[in-house]
């Protein structure tokens, strides 16, 4: 059985014999095994159809050969595929379902499925666009499944049923004209249309199919092994697909979200050699699909993945290797287009480029980018270089970065990541709390306990209060300042030292940061001490959340506070915020999982009792057994609700602060008569978009609250547009 799986999976790979003879040989082997292993073979073939889309035509050919030898087997295979397709649609596996539909359509080319029945299936797909009260993304998917199969089977279907296909294409055209595209701006990498328009994926595919039809359905890129077997296959009897009704839309249906096609190269970017297919050629579509498939199949094995990409069949006809290898050119092109690039994409570019440089001794011709030196530091290009250099420093060290950039670039170099201790100098002795800081320093060095620290801190006056409430630890910003500054300064040597300090004096932290203002102030002091070392700030905030010194909402409020306004557009701020949100999300999932597991344990316990043969009349003992578990479930239920509420509150705080900040800017611009679209504004509005896109699944739960509470009709249309675009993604 393993042998069968291995034989089937490996057909089509590099071999001494031709693909044709391998397929013929395999078909013979499988035919012989059918009496004993039929269901196993059916299962394997269905699975490769689903999981190996890059070898689609290899397997359709194989099925074609089997069908020619054994008509019943062909019929059973088609039935199994339809069952699998239905299963996929039921559980929202839409990407796999597309591959299955394409497989079925290519089976027409292999004389397994009769063309008219395939056309009938596509007619049912396209008629989904006539359904009422369904999300647009549902209709989109069925349209996509139809259109994206045409490169494979368009020619054959048109030859047999041209009138029907024309009708379907005209229905397609009218659907595409009337569907809304509010979501597009949110998904585009660049806000400019030059040099390449960022097309919506269905529009792009439609243009490609229209051109394909104009070219009389001639498609030259797809490998079609079945052509070599035409004489055998055309003798085979074909099967009719059973009528396929698309499963109805349900509450649980989650359709794929729309995409924007990412384009950065065209044929003008290639020196000599093969020409790149145009953006509306169907070859472009097919190649991009196949490349995606290769990466999706082989991402775990980077050497294999690279080898597969570089040995892509037909790669001598397209400039594939050139564009894979020419990273410098790609980098240069992305740099040149930074001005209109979406902030989230810039983040990725920064991460990738700095990581790349760290593997190549940071060698780069920085002078080529000296145009950025004359620009305002907040503009995208100088900002990009600054962030890259900061990331490079994190992967090396400060002096290294100073050494690798030309002196003209020193204005963009990162700060030396040293700690700033306000009580460090004798000259600061007039600062309130200075003497306590000295005292604390000595005590901590002498391994003082938490209690000793508390008693030292008692001496710190509270600038906020007139009557000092000695016993109650009400919010005392000066106490927090003195303690946190001193401790972080003593522990500044490394992350480990700082983490030890947080752990050792956890009790003091918890007490000082008990109130919301306390938490906020702790974060402020951390920033004051470590503002030159954003990485340290990030790891400290992470630890403080995990040890519950501060909570996620405090971090969110701190990020939007006026103290951080100067750093608001810096990359590290958003890394911290998204990391915070992720921690919150993981926390909720963890407790939910615990609850599910405990419920399952209780269910198993009941089952065991029910299946017991003992006629145990002692009901009390069963209750006693259930008791602790039921209690646990109740407690976990509360915990889940509390965590979910905290999670919702976190998002509400974030959205609220964004709205306040953006509204302020918009009002100021309006009254001042200045242009709204500053670099800061672009960054801020795109950061808001990023919150929606990066955490869309969670946020989908809050749509009603968001619409009624925050993103109401009174909101400035600039801000409301972001919300509307997000709504459009699943509409």
């Amino acid at each position: 059985e393993e042998r069968l799986e291995s034989l089937i999976c490996r057909v089509g790979e590099k071999s001494n014999s031709s693909l044709e003879s391998n397929l013929e040989g395999l078909a013979g082997v499988l035919e012989a095994d059918l009496p004993n292993y039929k269901s196993k073979i059916l299962r394997i073939l269905c699975t490769v159809a689903r999981l190996l889309p890059e070898k689609l035509t290899v397997y359709t050919t194989l099925v074609g050969l089997l069908n020619a030898r054994n008509y019943n087997f062909g019929g059973e295979f088609v039935e199994a595929m339809i069952r699998q397709l239905k299963e996929c649609l039921k559980v929202n596996m839409y990407n796999e379902a597309v591959h299955l539909v394409r497989f079925l359509s290519d089976l027409v080319n292999c004389h397994v499925i009769a063309a008219p029945s395939m056309v009938a299936m596509f007619e049912n797909f396209v008629s989904v666009t006539q359904e009422e009260d369904v999300p647009q993304v549902r209709c989109d998917w069925y349209m996509f499944a139809f259109l994206s199969s045409l490169p494979w089977v368009g020619k054959e279907l048109y030859e047999k049923k041209d009138a029907e296909i024309d009708r379907l294409l005209s229905q397609t055209e009218s659907y595409l004209k009337r569907r809304q595209k509010i979501h597009v701006p949110m998904l585009q990498v660049w806000t400019a249309d030059k040099p390449h328009p960022q097309e919506e994926y269905l529009d792009c595919l439609w243009s490609q199919i229209q051109k394909l039809k104009k070219d009389r359905w001639q498609e030259r890129h797809i490998l079609r092994p079945y052509l070599a077997f035409d004489s055998i296959l055309c003798e085979a009897l074909q099967h009719n697909l059973p009528p396929f009704t698309p499963p109805p839309h349900t509450e649980d249906s989650v359709y794929p979200m729309p995409r924007v096609i990412f384009r950065m190269f065209d044929y003008t970017d290639d020196p000599e050699g093969p020409v790149m297919p145009g953006s509306h050629s169907v070859e472009r579509f097919v190649i991009e699909e196949n490349l995606h498939c290769i990466i999706k199949s082989h991402w775990k094995e980077r050497k294999t993945c690279a080898a597969q990409l570089l040995s892509y069949p037909g790669n001598n006809k397209i400039p594939l290797n050139y564009h894979i290898v020419e990273l410098a050119q790609a980098t240069e092109m992305l740099y040149m287009r930074l001005d209109t690039m979406n902030t989230t994409c810039v983040d990725r570019f920064i991460n990738w480029f700095s990581h790349h440089l760290s593997n190549f001794q940071f060698r780069w011709s920085w002078e080529d980018w000296s145009d950025c030196l004359t620009q305002d530091l907040e503009k995208p290009k100088p900002k990009f270089v600054r962030e890259v250099l900061e990331k490079c420093m994190r992967l090396s060290y400060h002096q290294r970065i100073i050494d690798i950039v030309p002196t003209s670039f020193s204005v963009l170099s990162p700060a030396n990541p040293v700690c700033i201790y306000k009580y460090g100098d004798e000259s600061n002795r007039s600062l309130p709390g200075y003497t306590v800081a000295l005292c604390l320093t000595i005590a901590i060095k002498n391994k003082a306990s938490n209690d000793e620290i508390f008693s030292i801190l008692k001496d710190v006056p509270n600038p906020n209060q007139d009557d000092d409430d000695d016993e109650g630890f009400t919010f005392n910003p000066l106490k927090i300042e003195v303690f946190v500054q001193t401790l972080l300064h003593l522990a500044a040597k490394s992350f480990s030292h700082s983490f030890s300090a947080l752990a050792k004096f956890h009790e003091v932290f918890k007490t000082l940061a008990e109130s919301d203002e306390g938490k906020l102030h702790v974060l402020r002091v951390v920033y004051e001490v470590w503002k030159n070392h954003p990485q340290m700030i990030a790891v400290l905030v992470d630890k403080m959340i995990r040890t519950q010194i501060v909570d996620c909402a405090a971090v969110a409020n701190w990020i939007f506070s006026s103290e951080l306004a100067h750093d608001f557009t810096r990359f590290y701020i958003w890394e911290i915020l998204h990391s915070t949100i992720r921690k919150m999300n993981k926390h909720v999932l963890k407790i939910q999982k615990e609850l599910e597991e405990t419920k399952a344990r209780l269910a198993r316990q009941h089952k065991r009792r029910d299946s017991d043969d003992d006629d145990d009349d002692d009901d009390r003992s069963s209750d006693r057994e259930d008791g602790p578990l039921e209690e646990q479930i109740e407690r976990l239920q509360e915990k889940v609700e509390s965590a979910q509420s905290e999670q919702k509150n976190l998002f509400l705080v974030i959205f609220q602060r964004f709205i306040m900040l953006l509204t302020e800017h918009l009002v100021r611009c309006e009254t001042g008569g200045i242009d709204v679209f500053t670099p800061w504004y672009k960054s801020c509005i795109e950061r808001l978009q990023q919150i929606f896109l990066q955490h869309h699944q969670i946020i989908q739960q809050y749509m009603v609250t968001l619409e009624n509470l925050l993103f109401t009709a009174e909101l400035d249309h600039h801000i409301l547009a972001v919300f509307q675009q997000f709504c459009a993604l699943q509409a």
Binding site: E2, E5, S6, C9, R10, S39, L42, R43, I44, C46, T47, V48, R50, L51, L52, A80, R83, Q84, E87, C88, V91, M93, S297, K300, E301, R302, T304, N351, H355, S358, N359, Q361, K391, R394, L395, S396, Y397, S494, F495, S496, Q535, M536, V539, D542, S579, R582, K583
Partner: protein, 168 residues
């Protein structure tokens, strides 16, 4: 034919970068079986071939690309208590550690190709080198000159010292 979607292809599940290596810790408390079991579920990685000057910060930055890092323990010379070229990186989840094995192992940190391997889990004491002179065993025996790891191997260094021509 039920549950078609549950069928997987064993050939497709190749994940060679995540396989456990031949190395077994001789000081591991427990059977070989237990050690292998621990390696297969571990979220902790041993990281080797670091420079003596590579910092916790650099390690944090690189390994954070694969997920949230729970803890980094620097490997130390047993006598000098200074970094001696290895460390442990522990993630919160195995999945994140697997990403590091797939994408960080064999790439550069501080200009050196580093090597990651599964570790059964950090225990106090395991942060120290086990070589006779305090560092890692490999630095006792190696014969190359490695600027980031104290120059020549320890044995070679001692040989050189012993071969100093007598001045008097």
């Amino acid at each position: 034919m039920s549950g078609l979607l549950h069928t997987t292809l064993s050939g497709l599940n190749s994940d060679s970068y995540c396989e456990i290596s031949q190395y077994r810790d001789q000081h591991f408390r427990g059977s070989r079986q237990l050690q292998e079991k621990s390696l297969k579920i571990s979220s902790t990685l041993y990281v080797g071939n670091l420079s003596f000057y590579t910092t916790e910060e650099q390690i944090q930055e690189l390994f954070s690309k694969c997920g949230d890092v729970k803890r980094i323990v620097m490997g130390l010379d047993k006598i000098k208590k200074t970094p001696c070229g290895f460390c442990f990186v522990e993630y919160y989840t195995r999945a994140d550690a697997e990403h590091a094995m797939r994408f960080i192992n064999g790439t550069r940190l501080d200009d050196r190709i580093i090597r990651t391997d599964w570790d059964a889990g950090f225990k106090e004491g395991r942060q120290y080198g086990r070589g006779k002179t305090g560092g890692q065993v490999r630095d006792e025996y190696r014969t190359d000159y490695d600027v980031g790891r104290g120059g020549f191997g320890k044995i070679i260094q001692m040989q050189k010292a012993n071969h100093q021509p007598a001045i008097y």
